[in-house]
Amino acid sequence: MWAIEVKNLSKVFRKTTFGRRQEEWALKGVSFQVGVGETYALLGPNGSGKSTLIRILSTLLLPDAGRVHILGHPLPQEERKVREKIGRVSVDAAFYKKLSPQENLLFAAQLYGLSPREAEARAMAILERLGLETRRFGDPLEEMSRGMQQKVAIARALLIRPPLLLLDEPTTGLDPKSRRDVQAFLEELRREEGTTILLTTHDMVEAERLAHRLGFLARGQLVAEGTAEELKRLAGALDLEEAFIRLTGEGLQEEAHAP
């Protein structure tokens, strides 16, 4: 069984501007698999469809074509089973900003059927592990820096001990120390709990450090896939950044000239 199995996935957004219908293919026939316990990084330029893909996997968007299985459950048929097993962190820390981290986390925990007591203990442990001062646990989130908010978002995703984590740019906006804290924590989680992780990032060092395999997404298509070494070899590049630009970059220029 794969943790994530995606076949020929397509998603189109339609909009009408001034009476003219426009179609925007955010994903075009994407197929890939992620094994249980594996960490897979999706890399791609802005607007290449990474967040759209993560939203489909987290049951928030319905695809226009293709098949998705999460931990053996087909989507959207077994939506509820999937929802019980995934944790998600998005690039914007989406919280009730007037509420404290404690209140936000307890709300999320109860929503998933966790008792407040077990949730609180686990939340404290995670936040301490990520280096958030727990004395600020009761202040409104809006008074906290982006980095702190992002750590609370990670704690929220981990409260339910999900077998699958979907992380959309989890470390964007964190300082180097916090970024390392998060990365070390993810490695530890993977080691100790066997968590499968799908992550998107614009940080090549992070991708290379965390991911077993990487996929390059460009204009809604998976243009290359493999270990960091394989991708570098494929592109004839010295480092991952160069490989990224070679493998995903050319098409963008073509598109810029298109009418």
């Binding site: 987290s58 928030l60 968007l61 998005s90 914007d92 919280f95 009730y96 007037k98 999320a108 929503l111």
Partner: protein, 275 residues
């Protein structure tokens, strides 16, 4: 049971309680405004020296404040989450929309009851109210039964902000205005133009008001400023039945409409805050 229903339901009560606590200054402002509004309306009756009119106006103001608070809490719960950016997280939790609605409604009922009681107390500062003989317990029963239909209406209104982030909030307010207009909150439905009157019978507030007026004994010939002759609950069974039926129809209908809207939003990408 506990993990699948009660804890998730309680989560919404917990959240809304803390949000209300953190926005408490706004709660105070709105309640102050509601008291002033109710008092200015009730004083029209006092100026006329007509206790029946005064009581009709007081009842209308209180009932409307209760039902509209209920409706708004539910209808705005989605709009608020969309604005805050938490909607995706609430929607991806393994919680059925029924549990979601029940949780939000449970808090909304509690909040609206407390708010209405506070408004009643505030009103007593401006208007000399003698409610002796009125069947107030009966009115409470009518309110609670009427809440069901308003939950359903609130749920249907709640989808509007999901479908149109730009105009959804305005639409929920227009719907509320129409309910206020057609339900005869401060006047008998018979004074409305003939073409509006049929709408009155579609509004649960119409029945809740009619029943409450009887229970308070406002129109009873033997009622006087010294004491009212309220009707027993058995006298309003027809209204209660209509309210119950409306609740039984509107809640499933609301859930159905909501799930269709949610599906549509998931197809078109409307759950996201931007775009």
């Amino acid at each position: 049971m506990l993990r699948r229903f009660l804890l998730p339901m309680w989560a919404f009560v917990f959240r809304d309680f803390h949000l209300t606590r953190r926005y408490f200054s706004w709660v105070l402002v709105f309640t102050f405004y509601a008291i002033v509004n109710a008092a200015t309306i009730a004083l029209i009756g006092v100026a006329q020296g007509d206790f029946r009119l005064t009581l009709t106006l007081v009842l209308g103001a209180l009932l409307w404040s209760y039902l509209s608070a209920m409706y708004q809490e539910i209808a705005n719960s989605i709009a608020y989450e969309r604005w805050e950016g938490t909607l995706e997280y609430t929607f991806m939790a393994p919680v059925s929309r029924l549990v979601h609605l029940l949780g939000v409604s449970l808090f909304a009922t509690f909040y609206s009851v407390v708010r209405t009681a506070v408004i009643l107390l505030g009103l007593a500062l401006f208007v000399d109210l003698n409610l002796q003989g009125a069947n107030l317990l009966g009115v409470l029963v009518v309110l609670l039964v009427g809440s069901l239909a308003f939950m359903g209406l609130g749920l249907m209104a709640a989808i509007l902000p999901v479908m149109s982030p730009e105009n959804g909030a305005q639409a929920t307010n227009i719907l509320q205005g129409i309910l206020l207009l057609v339900s005869g909150i401060y006047y008998p439905v018979s004074v409305l133009p003939a073409w509006v009157q049929p709408l009155a019978y579609l509004s649960p507030a119409t029945y809740a008001l009619e029943a409450s007026r009887k229970l308070m004994g406002i129109q009873h010939p033997a009622s006087s400023p010294e004491g009212l002759v309220g009707a027993p609950l058995s006298a309003v069974v027809p209204e209660l039945l209509v309210l119950l039926l409306m609740g039984l129809a509107f809640i499933p209908l609301g859930l159905l409409v909501f799930s269709l809207a949610e599906r549509w939003a998931k197809r078109t990408g409307k759950l996201k805050r931007t775009g």
